[in-house]
Symmetry: C2
Subunit: 567 residues, 2 copies
């Protein structure tokens, strides 16, 4: 009997990094370790200084990314009792667009004494929102020029993405822009650190940097129309070499081998993004099955064999999720965080007391009561736009709406209506995909919500009319990264030659399947029709009251108005 | 120096009767006493029996009305140290339409052993809602026949009013209908008890019994179209003799003098209604000044010199409030009860804890926080239809709507938006009156809310652009009744010859005046325009989602749908 081989997945999240050691043959998760970033999300004061950050800033310290390796990798090897010789490959995934300026040796500018006190020299985290003016101008100019790329991104480039973030640095800190040899996704920077090789991945390039496999980046003329100094930004500050997912970026350097306790030369995969890397980890490597990562927000991913333009999606990228397919991404910007808002700010004391008495949380008390209702019984309907609408309207200035309230309305009624509203929002996304030629036959759900709330799952199933399956792993991101690590190693070295082969062995679903209740479907079809009508009335300009209210609010507060983003 | 003269006002409310002894010369309130009805609102079991009541029933026991006199009148005389000889007049007011069947001696059928166990023999309280099917049919038939009276009542006769309630008894308990010598408003029955004279008052006849000073009741043909057995209902079961407000109904009987400790022959005024009797008590005896009685719901009353048809009002009645004027009534069916719903069902624990800690109530905590906001700052807008819409849409199937919610929305934001929504609703009523030729130059507010919530008053003023004054009396109903009692006595007996003269001496306002803040007006004009647009979209059939939700809810619960009422 041969010894088991292992792959290591490193999942860089917003607050922490999680490392997972996986048996390559079975996908068994044998050890895990978490490192909470010491500097976390930097949004008030620059670490080690008194420098206060402007509003909408969200930075990170790249030293935390390295420290995560030092703390976690030796720990999982020790816990599992696995020898470094049996770890055949390493994969990583990252939040995106999380980007930083580096010098010609790959050193982050913020690690250099002369730049430490300049916020623009640090890592801009995905949720850094200070580049909104640049995004607005970029979108206006792209529309004016009729740039074809806009349609691939639902008509809007988000302020969270790479080009607005670079342009913001040029505008606000031209000396940082000047000093930067390159700007790079953290997803690619960590691979550069591990291997010594810069191998920019097709996922972040496609979804966050307006790159396309066929047509490349936008033209130099387009960049010059933004700002003459940006004309050569791609050649000067980025790279036109983009590598498909699963490819071997290189072998682990000697320094990194020492830091981690792994063997020098261990195969490292090109970088990836947390959401996208989860797709094969939940068994999906073919068209027709949508992956929904359901947490504070929801990310919808589905594969296709052709490039279709789908209204309001976040992006379509060839090889962006699984090599050989077009990866489609859509999203709902508020899901779990709406339910959390509701529990924190709109549920009366008796529910909190009951939860405390019974050792439950408030969500469980609300779920229990709401689950006793028949569809439509609460008499409510909501538009789930508490955090704007990502797909398919791509409009952050939309807001939440609730209709049907009476003096008999109770907290569980509103709670259920909010869940239903997010499910209606998902149904619109699915129907929009299908209308555009991208099939959605069934759904695999992962993330925190499907585990925690059975009522929610059944409502999604009844409302969308699709079967939902649940991923087995609670660490889909890290598992997916490990799978790509195994592919980077290749079959000869004990891994796999393709992500398809890896998925067949390493990815698993739970036995549990949620199936639509046929008796509930007609009522939800009626309610969905009403939802769509409100959606169109308030979301497509017929009654722009939500924008008017935001404008009046901004004027009352003496600040500028909001604006539209597809993060 | 002559001894002071006094008038007694007896205010029959939903849960209790309140008696007030007033100095006729000054309006000084010298003593008061409250009697809580022993049987209260009877909506579950018939008193002294095991008989369970059907849904939507709300009955009262007329014995409570008599017991109230026995308990309270001697008490206020004793407290005040006033001699019965110095009480010149008695006035009463009642909830309406609160009605009962009586025999030819005026004895309520429910007081007779043979009828005690029949619910239809008891007093139907104003909020008895079981006559909705009859109201629906009455409205349909009236519309078909083109009955002119409908326009005087906003296009709909309420299930709470007299004719539907009588018809319900005919349908459900024809033996009670048969045994009843007459049906009578409790307002008139109590006067019958006090004086031995049946003197039906013009206020309940006009607002609740479809009577009109010029044209009388609907035709016998109309009643026959409802049901052939109703053809002669007016002559057989009611009366065509209607008496204007303030008239002397008669002198106190010997029996009632013994019961109350007052003198036999003391002048008693014809009956009146709690809301309407408050108008002169808050100094309003002329056109142009609207009286708003603001509590769980709001009643708007204004006088005019001509009969105009105003959209969605509850009624216009000549001599219905003040003799010589047309009395206009409109209403908002949910005001204070929406705020109470919000506090009970949608405010998180921290606000309740703060209130407890600081010895305040939750409304005060919310008011304090909401008062710090600038107009429009919360970014919300609501339709205040949690309890349907009375004026101007006359539709109980409408429901509440909130738009503009975000993850940053807090309880005080929604609280303020709900108050503003009720103020926008009042502004629509005012503008509808003015458009129809009924002037509303300023407002006098009374009831519980104006006393309790300064923010609410300022928002009403800023939103309507009218000055608001506040009634001095907290017992406007009982004071108004006492004033009409003084008028029934007449000047020669130490009272007054007219309600105008009585109002000049006995009615007072507080010094405090709420004046519009000119800086807030433009923002509220913008928000009002948005409110009107939502009002029209959801209230006038363009998007009937509220009715669809109620229908789906009713189907889910397996019950019949709701229907429209103007109570």
């Amino acid at each position: 009997m041969t010894r088991s081989k292992y792959a290591l997945g490193i999942d860089y999240g917003t607050e922490s990094a999680r490392v997972l050691l996986v048996d390559v043959a079975t996908g068994e998760e044998v050890a895990t370790s978490v490192y909470e970033y010491r500097d976390g999300v930097i949004d008030e004061v620059l670490p080690g200084t008194d420098i206060r950050l402007p509003p909408d800033f969200a930075l990170q310290n790249p030293a935390d990314y390295i420290e995560a390796l030092r703390q976690t990798v030796p720990a999982v090897l020790a816990t599992a009792g696995v020898s470094a010789a049996d770890v055949v490959g390493i994969g990583t995934d990252f939040t995106a667009c999380t980007m930083l300026p580096i010098d010609k040796h790959g050193v982050p500018l913020c690690m250099k004494p002369e730049w430490r006190e300049n916020p623009y020299a640090w890592v801009k985290l995905w949720k850094h929102h200070a580049a909104q003016p640049e995004a607005n101008r970029l979108n206006a100019i792209a529309r004016e020029r009729g740039e074809a790329f806009l349609a691939r991104y639902g008509g809007k480039i988000s302020s969270e993405w790479l080009i607005p973030k670079i342009w913001e640095t040029l505008n606000k800190a031209p000396q940082v822009y000047e000093a930067a040899d390159r700007f790079i996704e953290a997803a690619d920077w960590i691979v550069l650190q591990l291997t010594g090789n810069e191998r920019r991945n097709s996922c972040t390039a496609g979804y966050k940097a307006i790159w396309n496999k066929q047509s490349g980046y936008p033209s130099d003329d387009f960049f010059a129309a933004l700002d003459p100094r940006l004309r050569h930004v791609v050649d000067e500050k980025l790279s036109r070499h983009i590598y498909p997912l699963g490819e071997r970026a290189g072998g682990l350097t000697k320094e990194m081998a020492q830091l981690t306790g792994l063997r020098e030369g261990t195969a490292v995969a090109v970088g990836n993004v947390d959401a996208h890397v989860s797709v094969p980890a939940v068994t999906v490597v073919e068209p027709g099955r949508m992956v929904m990562i359901m947490g504070t927000s929801t990310c919808h991913m589905v594969l296709g064999t052709e490039q279709h333009i789908v209204e309001g999606m976040c992006g379509v990228v060839e090889d962006g999720i699984i090599p050989g397919y077009f990866g489609y991404e859509a999203g709902q910007s508020g899901v779990g965080d709406i339910f959390a808002w509701f529990v924190d700010h709109a549920v009366p004391p008796e529910y909190h007391e009951e939860a405390r008495r019974r050792g439950l949380n408030v969500h469980q008390v609300l779920e229990e009561r709401a689950a006793q209702q028949r569809p439509g019984e609460h008499g409510l309907l909501a538009l789930d736009w508490w955090n704007g609408n990502r797909s398919i309207l791509v409009d952050v200035d939309l807001s939440g709406l609730l209709v049907g309230a009476t003096l008999a309305t109770r907290a569980e009624d509103i709670y259920r209506a909010l869940i239903e509203a997010t499910a209606f929002g998902t149904r619109i996304i699915m129907e929009t995909f299908e209308k555009s030629g991208v099939k959605v036959n069934e759904v695999v759900a992962c993330g925190g919500l499907p585990e925690r709330n059975k009522l929610l799952m059944q409502l999604y199933v009844d409302i969308t009319g699709r079967e939902f399956k649940i991923a087995q792993s609670k660490l889909a991101g890290a598992l997916g990264a490990a799978m790509f690590g195994a592919v980077a190693a290749g079959k000869a070295a004990g891994g796999y030659d393709t992500i398809f082969a890896a998925a067949q062995k390493m990815a698993h679903l739970k036995d549990e399947v949620y199936r639509p209740n046929v008796e509930h479907r007609p009522v939800y079809d009626q309610l969905y029709a009403e939802y769509v009508r409100l959606y169109d009335t308030f979301g497509r300009g017929e009654n722009p009251v939500m924008k008017t209210l935001k404008r009046i609010r901004a004027e009352a507060l003496g600040v500028g108005g909001g604006s539209a983003v597809c993060p």
